[in-house]
Amino acid sequence: MLGAYLPIIVLVTIAILFGLGSLIFSSLIGPKKPSEVKLAPYECGCEPVGSARERFSIKFYIIAMLFILFDIEAVFLYPWAVVFKKFIAAGLGPFILAEMGVFIVILFVGYIYVWKKGALEWE
């Protein structure tokens, strides 16, 4: 199994070296004529107003939290999906289907709750 993981390390190394190499190379050969205006954040030619690190919409936090909840639930479905055919072959099809059915129904109830609460509205 080690033989299958080793190439990934090699590929990661090559990719990082390629990225670092082009970063360093371009910073070496590019011109450098910094000026006050050039180093200011871009704001369509106006003087920058205040800092960019201000508060932003709560919606993004909600989406992030919902993502974690639903993604974990999706990951719970993966092992079930992988062994599903084996359970059918063993004659336990209705059992495993009903079990996951309950899980998905609970997931759906949570989803409908989130929807009705308006967490998915962006208008």
């Binding site: 199994m1 080690l2 033989g3 299958a4 993981y5 080793l6 190439p7 990934i8 090699v10 590929l11 990661v12 090559i14 990719a15 990082i16 390629f18 990225g19 670092l20 082009s22 970063l23 190379f25 371009s26 910073s27 050969i29 590019g30 011109p31 450098k32 200011a40 954040p41 871009y42 800092s51 960019a52 690190r53 932003f56 993004f60 989406i63 992030a64 993502f67 639903f70 993604d71 999706a74 990951v75 479905l77 993966y78 999906a81 992988v82 055919k85 084996k86 059918i88 099809g93 209705p94 289907l97 996951m100 998905i104 997931l107 759906f108 989803y111 929807w115 998915l120 509205e121 962006w122």
Partner: protein, 363 residues
């Protein structure tokens, strides 16, 4: 260490060769995808696209790359320098390394040593089987999520309002569509009973031909395949879902403050992601490298991937950009419930009819 020494020397030669070939393949495809995109969209809009550099503009990507090398590197004064420099790397590296687990051809034999055409795999002569990552799909999903960090870091560290908005939008969009894509893949696991991409591809081969591909296996996987491809396009921020860099409102989104090669790296990451996403869709739904025997497997793989890349460009030339609330509605209120229902339907279908292609019932 013993396990490493037990591998034959041919293994190392084959490994380095495969890694280099795949890396150069992705790099060249990325370079020429930028050219092809301008040409394809050019022709679709009844103009010629790049024509001046080389024959029919064929040297355009090289000229672009060289030009970006010689451009000035600007690091804004307010930017958090370290994060600002690291962000393009974090965006670029995962885009290239997801390719490691994708099988791009059958086994080839060199000097009596069998080499599977998949980077992260090894042929075991004792078992007579190819061993690859048994969590291949999870690896791809993991790498796809890592790419988000590059974009968020780029948006935040630039300390510019456009970048921050672009980065926020990108992260929300990418995680939303990752969810639906992750659920759509479950239908594939139900069919294959494995997370190993090698097994998934092997399961789509056989006497059924095209109807053995998961896309055409049964109606549920057909819908799931299309949803997966759309979600993938949304996840890599391509038109019509390119909100994070909507140039009409956000200048250039998360990479507004980037210049020179650092900008080029975001650009390359976007196209490398497109290549990866098309390769993953090919592997999961379009039968991987399998096809009629008159062409070798890797040619079929390349042909299918290039066809999907062409579809991405076609979509870009056809559809206008979504509005942000429409985008979120599509991801959370349309694709998420549909894919959840699809999972149940696929399970029911497999219980009722098995995993055979559905054409076999009709005929």
């Amino acid at each position: 260490m013993d396990a490493l020494l037990a591998l034959p020397p041919m293994y190392y030669v084959a490994m380095v060769a495969k890694v280099l070939v795949a890396f150069v393949f992705v790099l060249l495809t990325v370079a020429y995808a930028t050219y092809a995109e301008r040409k394809v969209i050019g022709f679709m809009q009844v103009r010629l696209g790049p024509m001046r550099t080389g024959w029919y503009g064929l040297l355009q990507p090289i000229a672009d790359g060289l030009k970006l090398f010689f451009k000035e590197e600007i690091i804004p004064k307010q930017a958090s320098t370290f994060a600002f420099l690291v962000a393009p790397l974090i965006a670029l590296v995962p885009a290239f390394i997801s390719f490691a687990v994708i099988p791009f051809g059958g086994n080839i034999e060199v000097f009596g040593y069998t080499i599977p055409l998949q980077i992260a795999s090894v042929y075991d002569p004792q078992v007579g089987k190819v061993l690859d990552l048994n969590v291949g799909v999870l690896y791809i999903l993991g790498m796809a999520s890592l790419g988000v960090y590059g974009i968020v870091l780029a948006g935040w560290s630039s300390n510019s309002k456009y970048s921050l908005l672009g980065g926020l939008r990108a992260s929300a969009q990418m995680i939303s569509y990752e969810l639906a894509a992750g659920l759509a893949i479950i239908t594939v696991f139900l069919m294959s009973g494995s997370l190993s991409l090698n097994q998934i591809v092997a399961d789509q081969a056989g006497a059924f031909g095209v109807t053995g591909w998961y896309l055409f296996r049964n109606p549920c996987t057909f819908v799931a395949g299309i949803i997966f491809f759309i979600c993938s396009i949304a996840e890599i921020n391509r038109t019509p879902f390119d909100l994070p860099e909507a140039e009409t409102e956000l200048v250039s989104g998360f990479c507004t403050e980037y210049s020179s090669m650092k900008y080029a790296m975001f650009f390359m990451a976007e196209y490398a992601n497109m290549v990866t996403v098309c390769a993953v869709t090919t592997t999961l739904f379009l039968g991987g490298w399998h096809g009629p025997a008159f062409l070798p497997g890797w040619m079929w793989f390349v042909a299918k991937v290039y066809f999907l890349i062409f579809c991405c460009m076609w979509i870009r030339a056809t559809y206008p950009r979504y509005r942000y609330d429409q985008l979120m509605r599509l991801g959370w209120k349309v694709f998420l419930p549909i894919t959840l229902v699809l999972v149940v339907l696929t399970a029911l279908w497999i219980m009722a009819f098995g995993t055979e292609p559905w054409f076999s019932f009709i005929m």
